[in-house]
């Protein structure tokens, strides 16, 4: 990962949760970077550590039980982990904004939506309350909600509309980086299409970088320039979208693709990854994927595989399969 001017550069980040049954290694020695204007897809299954990483960037890892135990998060060249709480507050919402997964619960039920947007505006701009409310209405219009509904409470909106409000809040201060955590997972597919379309449009207008956290490779194909695949707290593959979709390098990535039924062809049986996600309090040694990996050799259980650049910009954390693979042949 060469450094042009990076917007975000996460180095060797580890975040742990201490719970009754042990220490959960939610994020483990994670490296990730993002150039200005880029859209990064951040893909993994439940428990892979995607949301924790995002909360880590925001400085919102719940503590206790969570704790950033190692690493750096460089944002515009400065380490966010070294910032004071007050400095973080002006970055949060102002420069980095976040959209959460469940629109049903992300809005305060007893405050009208215009005030919830205006709050964001007031926090990061030197404006009067009147101006902030005016801006809130503009934002609502921008996300496709009529001004008349500004004074409604969240429960008066449907799920898709609520997510629009959440997006309006996140974009109200023109953030440099937007982190969207599974923004459409809770929505129906036709409503998801509306919301994705909206995000597409707004990103062009507002010109923000995006980290799109999702488990849906389809959304990545549509929205992102680059993809990071996460497994058990680590990024195992990082590549331009095209390279990743056309020749995935890591056996896990390959398994992910094979698990999704193909709409365009008939397959009798899906080629599945055997076994289960490892227990996060007790990760396997070496490559965390090795117990489930069809290509594993003895060394996999001992050495942590480094990221290898198998073609320009395409990094894979697998020495065995770290070469272009034949998704093409399928």
């Amino acid at each position: 990962m060469e450094d042009k001017k990076l917007l975000l550069d996460i180095q060797d980040l580890s975040i742990h949760y201490v719970v009754e049954s042990g220490t959960v290694h939610a994020v483990e020695h994670l490296n990730l970077s993002l150039a200005p204007g880029e859209n990064l897809g951040f893909v993994g299954e439940t428990g892979a550590g995607k949301t924790t990483t995002a909360l880590g960037i925001m400085g919102l890892v719940p503590n206790p039980p969570g704790k950033v135990v190692n690493g750096k998060i460089l944002f515009e060249g400065e380490d966010l982990l070294k910032k004071t709480e007050e400095q973080m507050r002006s970055i949060r919402g102002g420069k980095i904004a976040m959209i959460f997964q469940d629109p049903m619960t992300s809005l305060n039920p007893v405050i009208t939506v215009d005030k919830q947007i205006a709050e964001m505006v007031l926090l990061h701009n030197n404006v009067t309350e009147q101006q902030a409310l005016e801006r809130a209405e503009e934002m609502l219009e921008l996300v496709g909600i009529k001004r008349e509904r500004a004074r409604d409470f969240p429960h008066q909106f449907s799920g898709g509309m609520k997510q629009r409000v959440v997006i309006a809040i996140a974009l109200a201060c023109n953030p440099t980086l937007l982190i969207a955590d599974e923004p459409t997972t809770a929505l129906d597919v036709t409503i998801q299409a509306q919301v994705l379309e909206l995000m597409h449009e707004l990103r062009r207008k507002i010109n923000t970088s995006l980290i799109m956290i999702t488990h849906d490779l389809g959304i990545v194909a549509e929205m992102c320039d680059k993809v990071a695949i996460m497994y058990a707290g680590k990024v195992v593959e990082y590549a331009p979208t095209e390279a990743l979709f056309n020749h995935p390098g890591h056996p896990y990535t390959e398994g992910l693709f094979n698990s999704i039924p193909d709409l365009d062809s008939d397959e009798e049986e899906l080629k599945v990854i055997q076994g289960l996600m490892p227990d996060p309090t007790n990760l396997p040694s070496g490559c965390t994927f090795h117990p489930r990996c069809p290509y594993a050799v003895e060394a996999c259980s001992k050495d942590v595989p480094p990221m290898v650049e198998i073609e320009p910009g395409h990094f894979v954390a697998c020495p065995v399969r770290g070469k272009p693979y034949l998704h093409l042949g399928k």
Binding site: L60, R92, G93, I169
Partner: protein, 308 residues
């Protein structure tokens, strides 16, 4: 909103009918002949019979109940065996003290319980939290009548700072209201704390933090409004608890309220007066509940919206 109020008031009617039915049934099954109670042991059998006929005491149960309700609507719920005065008059003259006592205790419970609950929740697991929670538990477990006695013992007998009885001066009100409030303070504190802890875990609190909002504003503006909604219900229920507890408190501090009146009546077997007290307090409690429901609808837009 008007529809909601109308509905709630309409709900009150069956409850009042039910309460009156219970009270009347209890009077009905009470051992002892009311005629004898009124006329005294010396009365002749004929006089008793005549009284029974005159008062309709020989009629079937439901007829008597119907008459009771009919009279109750006009404010007549019988006469006290002791004083021969109408029960309503007796109770209404004692009512202000009881309400004053309960209301004062309620204010104490709210003023102490809510802040302590909030601070405890914000500093979960801190020393403050632990101490508050242990005190709350002790408060919850303290019998009202014992606390009253201990307070009298300490502040009246030992220190001689405060009077041990009466309710006519501010100084006299202090001990009884603290006594009565103790349990409610504990309950409101615990409820506020757990409600706050619940709310603080919600996604919209994370949203507020993600906006870059200050922690204090997150707590006061976003968490509190939501956390207090269930507290409102508990406070309402506490009022009933306080009205009930007033019976004991009043008798400890010799406060001339409904409670003491009822305790005296129990000792004298003046059952109409006892049940009358129950009826009046139940009505007062129902009205308070109505009020709470309205407040509830006012603070929670989701309820308000249902009845637009």
């Amino acid at each position: 909103m008007f529809k909601y109020i109308a509905r709630r008031i309409l709900f009150l009617l069956p409850v009042l009918v039910g309460v009156s039915f219970i009270v009347f049934s209890l009077l009905y099954i009470t051992p002892g002949d009311p005629a004898r109670m009124v006329l005294g042991d010396q009365a002749t059998e004929e006089a008793v019979q005549e009284f029974r006929n005159k008062e309709g005491l020989n009629d079937p149960f439901l007829v008597q109940y119907g008459r009771y309700v009919y009279k109750a609507i006009q404010g007549d719920i019988g006469r006290s065996y002791m004083t021969r005065r109408p029960v309503s008059d007796e109770i209404l003259s004692a009512f202000p003290s009881t309400i004053k006592l309960a209301a004062l205790s309620m204010v104490i419970a709210i003023l102490l319980g809510i802040p302590f609950g909030i601070i405890s929740a914000i500093r979960q697991y801190s020393l403050f939290d632990s101490v508050t929670m242990i005190f709350a538990m002790v408060g919850l477990s303290m019998p009202v009548f014992w606390l009253g006695i201990l307070l009298i013992l300490f502040f009246s007998v030992q220190l001689r700072w405060l009077p041990s009885s009466g309710f006519d001066s501010l100084a006299a009100m202090i001990l009884p209201s603290i006594t009565l409030a103790a349990q409610s303070v504990a309950i409101v504190t615990r409820m506020t704390r757990s409600s706050m802890l619940e709310v603080v875990r919600q996604d919209y609190i994370r949203t507020a933090r993600a906006k870059g909002q200050k922690e204090s504003v997150v707590i006061w503006r976003h968490a509190l409004g939501n956390a207090l909604i269930p507290v409102v219900t508990v406070v309402g229920l506490q009022f009933g608890h306080l009205l009930g507890g007033a019976v004991l408190t009043e008798s400890i501090f010799s406060i001339p309220g409904v409670g003491r009146l009822m305790v005296e009546a129990i000792k004298m077997r003046d059952y109409p007066l006892v049940q009358g007290g129950v009826l009046y307090i139940a009505i007062a409690f129902s009205l308070v509940n109505l009020l709470v429901d309205l407040v509830y609808a006012w603070v929670d837009p989701r309820i308000k919206a249902q009845y637009k």
